[in-house]
């Protein structure tokens, strides 16, 4: 293979020139396929994320309602219970008239207590007070208690 003459070297180079493009072409093809393949994977990932972003999530049991016995909350009294994982309270303000709220104080998150004598909620952490409609009477809470819908169904209360 070691052609030393001018002729020999030239011939080798032209031979290589003819093989080079074919080799290059094949390499190019493989590289392009790889490039395209990874591109498709990444594009697929992006598309999947965007689909997840747009498609509404499966309802996390948000429709679940709670049924409570009506006599748990006599007139002027409050009954505390768990509602969808959070502390909640239902109270009977007048015969047959019920209110339900989240029992989480809107100030910094402590659980409010019901003061029967004054018919108001009191938060033991910083003295926030709410009336029987959940509205702020005094103290640091910035917003009223979150209202939870409640309906009467015979001897039961349907909360949520």
């Amino acid at each position: 293979m070691a052609g030393t003459g001018q002729n020999g070297t030239l011939k080798r180079r032209s031979e290589m020139d003819m093989e080079q493009p074919a080799d290059d072409g094949r390499r190019q093809f493989i590289l392009s396929v790889l490039l395209g393949g990874i591109g498709v994977i990444l594009a697929g990932g992006a598309g999947w994320s965007i689909w997840g972003y747009l498609a509404p999530p499966a309802g996390k049991g948000e429709k679940s309602k709670i049924r409570l016995a009506r006599n748990l909350a006599p007139v002027g009294a409050a009954h505390f219970f768990q509602f969808r994982g959070h502390p909640a309270v239902v109270l009977q303000v007048a015969p047959g008239k019920f209110h339900a709220f989240s029992a989480i104080c809107t100030h910094l998150g402590c659980i409010v207590q019901w003061v029967s004598g004054r018919q108001e909620f009191l938060c033991p952490c910083h003295g926030g007070r709410y009336d029987a409609d959940g509205r702020v009477l005094g103290g640091p809470p910035p917003k009223p208690l979150e209202v939870i819908p409640v309906a009467v169904a015979g001897e039961e209360l349907v909360v949520g």
Partner: protein
Amino acid sequence: MNLPKKVIDFIDARIGIRDILQQNLTEYLLPRNVNVWYTLGAVLLALFGIQFITGILLLIYYVPNTDQAFASVQRIMNEVPFGWLIRYVHAVGANIIVLALLLHMLSVLFMGSYKQPRELTWVAGFIILLMSLGMCLTGYLLPWSQLSFWATTVATESSNEIPLVGDAVVRFLRGGAMVGQPTLGRFFALHVMGFPFIFGLIVALHLFCVRRVGISRPPFGPEYEPREPPSTFRHEHHEGGIPFFPNYVVKDVAVICFFLALLFGVVFFAPGLFFPPAAFAPADPFLTPEGIKPEWYFLWAYQVLKIFPSEFLGLAVQGLFVTFLLLLPFIDRGRERRPTRRPLFLTLFLAGLAVFIGLSVWGHYS
């Protein structure tokens, strides 16, 4: 029965699409010594495209009302599947775009590609830069966090120093005496429709000018010689050049991939880089957090205002600098584009860059 071919034949017979594709892809020749800096245009297009898509996605869940804005962004970050990803890509993407814009501008300056006959391209590009910064500024307010509120207050406050009309300008920008719902409303409208629409038109103009005049040839290598630009229109061909498609397109793809790697690297591993703690607290007009600073690309302006004893002087200096850059192709009429043969320009270029970096670093630590 090759369906794709039949469709293209149909379109080609009516609008000659094959001819257009040929002229802009395979027969579009670039100068042989084209360098990697020329990929930044494609990088920016890709990044702006991502901003556009993520922006629309965010629009679906975002509420532009001071009562609900912060909570809606919280919801996107915590409850919407992949919301955190879309939000971070959009926010980090904005910063990467500014970086790419600056690099693109620097390379154009360095290679003197703004000179005649490309003045229009430069002016359009500079306006794109200004509008991008405007989109960054307006977008910053939308999450309605402590950072959003106070950074916007500081940014709009500086207009007060404009003589005579300063106060009116501030009120106009804010829609009132202080940053509030009217500010959010107008910034939202600008960010989502106002800027993008005009921005799109000017990008189209910019790209048109680039193609119409012809891509510039890098002023490097032994064959370069400064030439008198044509007095009548002539498209600059690059005979014997390399085809844009596929030869240079792969380079565009490579650099785009590297920039995206940077973007996602920050998104996944350092998302807090552009999010100080004040970015996660809801806006409180009565409580200024400590150490409010603008984003890194505005630190130079912030520092300039602090250096000059008179804020008006600081603003004037900034205005002069920006105007000088905008009108540069009309000021610098020299034909020479080789950086080593433009000593005055090179000095100003390096000094300007050093001052920009210096002021930004100073602004960060002050």
